[in-house]
Every structure is written in structure tokens, then in C-alpha cells.
Symmetry: C2
Subunit: 314 residues, 2 copies
DNA sequence: TTGACTTTATAACAAATACCTATAGGATAG
DNA sequence: CTATCCTATAGGTATTTGTTATAAAGTCAA
């Protein structure tokens, strides 16, 4: 049984006339007779009682047309639905994000996306870098806002922007008291007590790497899974920490540390990561485009990169 | 879009593997790739995210499979339903009948039919000969129990049985008193008061024709649309009437006339009439077969005819 | 890193089938 | 009884589906 045959049969039933039905179907009448005969033979029932001057439905025909019409309707609905999806009028997108970026970047991006593609159902997943990489490569998230380096080889990414890294110290810290605003040489921090993020979070790795490049292993006095907490702990004098400039608070807010620039202006690169694949989903591409556009409008230091797996360690 | 393609897509989704799906579909893997590509191109969406070691549904694919499965299920149900109809497990039959035959013949036939074909919905329409012919030729009834002659040229028929015609007279009628049981010569009845059925009923015509063949026009003293009423009126002495032997009552029943045989043993032929058409519906044929069989089992004088339009006036 | 082994996509040819034109077969209407 | 209308059938053409062979790309093990 073929959809074409269902369509033909329904048309004959509507016209009660083979020749007229054939005309409306833009085929020759013999083709129509042939196809219907074939269908009837396959089904084992006569659908129409034909005589030379009349075409009437048999009982089988009545039942058939009712069902066939329903099937054809559903096929039409299916094509329309696929069309909607292809035009991004409908869809689903699961965005992964680190808590930091979730709080600081997504509020600029998600509303713009919602405005451009109101039919696409957006879901946000916030987790650690390690878990987001796994989610994205396994397809649980379609796209994730992460930082370089991306470890999972199944992921591809597009750089978004470079973000400066600062040193957060208590206000009464000697480095802040002596010459506030002067870039700090990381090598000077060899004996400082560091507060770090817990394992699995990319910024912990970045912090450790900064120390190692300056020639020492930092003394870790505290670990938290929340960088905001770390910032507050620094403010209270528990230790010092590197932080991405994004989360720097205004001085008027309680428990805000002092921020010092670092020598060499180290930075991290925020990227949108997605699964490597021959065809990138239109929805993912749309999210990418909207994100770039939204950040550009905010006047942020966008990286206009020829995207692709550069895998440079930043 | 073709049902074949829906089926292919659903199978790939189930197997998550093109080659295995192709195997189960008994086609070569390239055919499957081709058909799916064609489908995706037509729909304008990617249904599967393929990589060399995995095949996963896209969002469009998920939606598609849900709908496609429903469509395929309905197509299957449709074929099963048509199969049921073709095997007479399901159907509809509207049987037309004269009130007389409805009361005397159908009780022997309908239960047998119901037993053989419990899935076929039976409807009974009782009306006059004239209207039943029209109903049957127009398709409002599928088959009708009538008597010859059949006037409508659009109808074909199969003879069932020959039924003797008797004369009903009051018990105190001279013909009954003088020589009860002796065949009556219709020519003797020239001056008798006749009670007849009303216009449009075949038995009225048969009665008139009997008189005419005997050389006279009967004197009609009363007309009724109900032959049972006529019989009772004869019993009370209102007049005489021809009756089909089928309706003869037992003498013990009140208002029962006396029955006298007629010279030349005139009779009428009961037939099953149905529309002329190249293909006779299986259900109609089944009813025909069951009726013949049921009457044969009752030991009735069945006409084992080479059916067909003999159109003899009987 | 290389080489064997997957898996899907593409190319070119073969087989199936849907469509076309022409015409037969039946029935109705003037 | 002829003219006309309608569906069915026959035979040829063109499209399409399927097949085999092979490419492209990725995984796994040595």
C-alpha cells in the first residue's frame, strides 16, 4: 500500500468519477484505474462499485476512506511540523553553562534568542566544566558555554571572548596597601595562602597553571565549589584567589575583595562548545549566531575567529 | 514522502544502525542511505545525527519517529480491517423483505446467517415490492426477498422456491361445503366478491392476473395493505381471496378461513434480488448461499436454478 | 603512527513500476 | 440504432528503487 494510492482512492471517492479524479490528480485516467485495481487486489476487497454510469463506495470503501483520510491528514501534519522545525519555528535546545557564565553571560544571550526563535524550547543546565563536556559530547546538552582548554576530543568549539584574570586580595593585604592598581607579578605570590575551586572545575586548573608557570605550587588553604563564596572568603581575609574579571563585584557590596591586575595580563577564553559532526544542527548554529550578535551589541571583546579546533592551550 | 521511507526511518531509529536496519529490512545498506537522504532532503531536516560509530535521533527525528510510528500503525490497522472485511468477519448487510416473507422466511434464514457471519451487521427493511425494488436498485438495500416478476431492469435475481397459491374462503362458503379439498376452477369465481391487497404490492398483481387468465375481471369489495387482515376478513365472510400457501394458518386459530387448492396449481416464485453488477459483493453472495442452505435444510421446494436473468413471468 | 576493520555515503548500472497513448468493452441517451 | 460517455486493458517509455563496487572517515590494536 502506498500513500499515493490512498490519495488516489480518496480523490475518486470525493469525485465519484474516475476520469474527473484523474484530471484533478494530473494523471491519465488509465493510471488511476491501474493503481486502484492494484490497491484493491492487494487489500482483497472492492472499494468502489463501478458501473458505466456510476461509481459508488462499497462498505469496505467507506471504511477505507475514513481511515485513509485520517492517515493522509497525519502525513500532511507531519510534513508541516518538519517544515516548522526546519525553519526554526519549533525546536528544543539544551544549553549547558558554568554557574559563573550562567549568571553573567546568559542573561544577555537567552532573551535575544527567545525573541528571535520563540518556538524553540530552551533548557538551561548548569554544572561543572568536566560534566558539561561529557553532557555535550553525549548529546544531553546541545551546546555549552565553557572555557579553553576543551579536553573532550569529540567537541568542537567557537571562541566567544577573552576575559582578563585578576587577583582578588583582602583590602588590607600588603599588595593592595602598598601600590594599589599596579600589576602584580605572580611569582611574588609563592608564599600566599590560596583559595581554589574544587576538582572538576576548569578555573581551578587555570589557577594552578598560572602558579606553575610562575614557578611554584600554591599553598591551598581552602577549597569551595562556588567562586562567589571564594570571593567573599578572600574579602574576609582567608586567603587570596585568581578570579575571572566577569565576577568582580562593585566595591559597595559587602564582602567584596580588592582586585589587582596581573603582570602579563593573563586571560581565559570563553567558547561555545558543541559536538563535532559533519552537519551542525540549525538550532545550534542559530544559538551561536545570536550569541555572537548579542555580545557584539554589548560591546564586549569578541573574538572574530575562524572557528575550529585550534586546541591551543590559550 | 512514501510509507516505505517512514518504515525505513523507523527501523533505523529502532536499530540506531544503518547496516543492521538494512539487513532487517532485507535491502542493501546503500539503498537505505539513499532513501533516508531523499526523505531528509524532502523534509528539509536532518533526522539522524550520524557519525562513523553512532547514529542518533535529532530533535526533528524524535518528533518524526513518533508521528511516523502512529501513521504506520494506522496503515497496519487499515490493512487488517480490510482483511477482516474481505474474510466477511466484518461488514454490513441491509436485507429488504415483504412483510409476509419477513414473518415466514427470514426467521429461518437470519439466525443461520448470524451464526456463520457474526461480525456482519444485519439490518432488515420491510416494505412493499415496488419500494423494495427501488431501494435495492439504488443501493439502500443490498438484497431483497421478492417474488417474480421483477420489474426493475437494474436488478438481477436468484430463484429460491415455488410457493403454491390457494383460495381462501369462509368456512360456510358453498365451494367449501360442497366438495372440500377439491381443486377449484378459477373461472367459477367470476361473480365472487374479492378482497385484494392495495396497489404496489406484487401479490395484488398476481391475484388480478389469475382472474384475467381465467377470463374475467374480479369484483373488488375490499382492499387492505395487510394480507393477514385480508385472511381474517375472508374468515368472517367479507369475501374470498387468493393467498400464498406460506401464510395459511392452522384451523385452530380464530378467524381462520378455509383453504382450497386451485386447478392448474398456480404458484409464485420467491427470489433473492440484488443489483446487477460485474462483481457481486461477497456479503451478498454469502447471504445468498446461507439462504439456499437454510431453506434446503428445512426441506422446502428449493429451485436449484442456473441463476440469472430469465425474466420469465412465471 | 600505521594498518585492519568499522560504518555511512556515493557512483554506476540493473530491475521494477508508474505513467502515457491507444483502444476495447459496456451502457446510456437522443 | 447510432453517438457518446466511462472504465478497463495492452503495450511502450520513463522514472525510480534497488544492487554491487568503492570511497571517505573514524575506531581499535599492535
Amino acid at each position: 500500500m502506498e500513500l499515493r494510492q490512498l490519495n488516489y482512492a480518496v480523490k475518486i471517492a470525493a469525485e465519484k468519477h474516475f476520469s474527473r479524479a484523474a484530471e484533478k490528480l494530473h494523471i491519465a485516467q488509465p493510471s488511476l484505474s491501474q493503481q486502484l485495481s492494484k490497491l484493491e487486489k492487494e487489500l482483497g476487497v472492492l472499494l468502489f462499485q463501478r458501473s458505466t454510469n456510476s461509481v459508488e463506495l462499497t462498505y469496505a470503501g467507506e471504511v477505507f476512506m475514513e481511515r485513509a483520510q485520517a492517515i493522509l491528514d497525519q502525513v500532511n501534519q507531519l510534513t508541516r511540523e518538519m517544515e516548522d522545525i526546519s525553519q526554526l519555528k519549533k525546536g528544543r535546545l539544551v544549553v549547558g553553562s558554568l554557574p559563573i557564565t550562567g549568571a553573567h553571560m546568559l542573561p544577555r544571550v537567552l532573551p535575544a534568542f527567545r525573541r528571535s526563535y520563540p518556538g524553540i524550547e530552551l533548557t538551561l543546565v548548569e554544572d561543572t566544566t568536566a560534566r558539561l563536556e561529557k553532557f555535550t559530547s553525549s548529546g544531553q546538552t546541545d551546546i555549552a558555554i565553557l572555557t579553553l582548554p576543551i579536553e573532550d576530543p569529540a567537541l568542537d568549539y567557537t571562541p566567544l571572548l577573552r576575559e582578563e584574570l585578576w587577583l582578588a586580595v583582602p583590602h588590607d593585604h600588603p599588595l593592595n596597601l602598598r601600590n594599589p592598581g599596579t600589576p602584580v607579578d605572580i611569582a611574588q605570590l609563592r608564599n600566599e595562602p590560596f583559595i581554589l575551586l574544587k576538582m572538576g572545575q576548569a578555573f581551578r586548573k587555570i589557577s594552578l597553571e598560572l602558579c606553575r608557570q610562575a614557578g611554584f605550587e600554591p599553598t591551598i588553604v581552602f577549597e569551595s565549589s562556588n567562586i562567589e563564596t571564594i570571593q567573599s572568603l578572600v574579602a574576609t581575609g582567608m586567603g587570596i584567589a585568581f578570579i575571572p574579571s566577569m565576577i568582580a563585584r562593585d566595591a559597595s557590596i559587602p564582602y567584596t575583595p580588592a582586585y589587582l591586575p596581573l603582570k602579563g595580563l593573563p586571560h581565559r577564553t570563553l567558547v561555545l562548545a558543541y559536538r563535532k559532526s559533519r552537519y551542525r544542527s540549525r538550532t545550534v548554529q542559530a544559538f551561536l549566531d545570536v550569541t555572537m550578535e548579542a555580545l557584539r551589541e554589548e560591546g564586549l571583546p569578541l573574538i572574530e575567529s575562524a572557528e575550529g579546533p585550534g586546541h591551543s592551550i590559550d
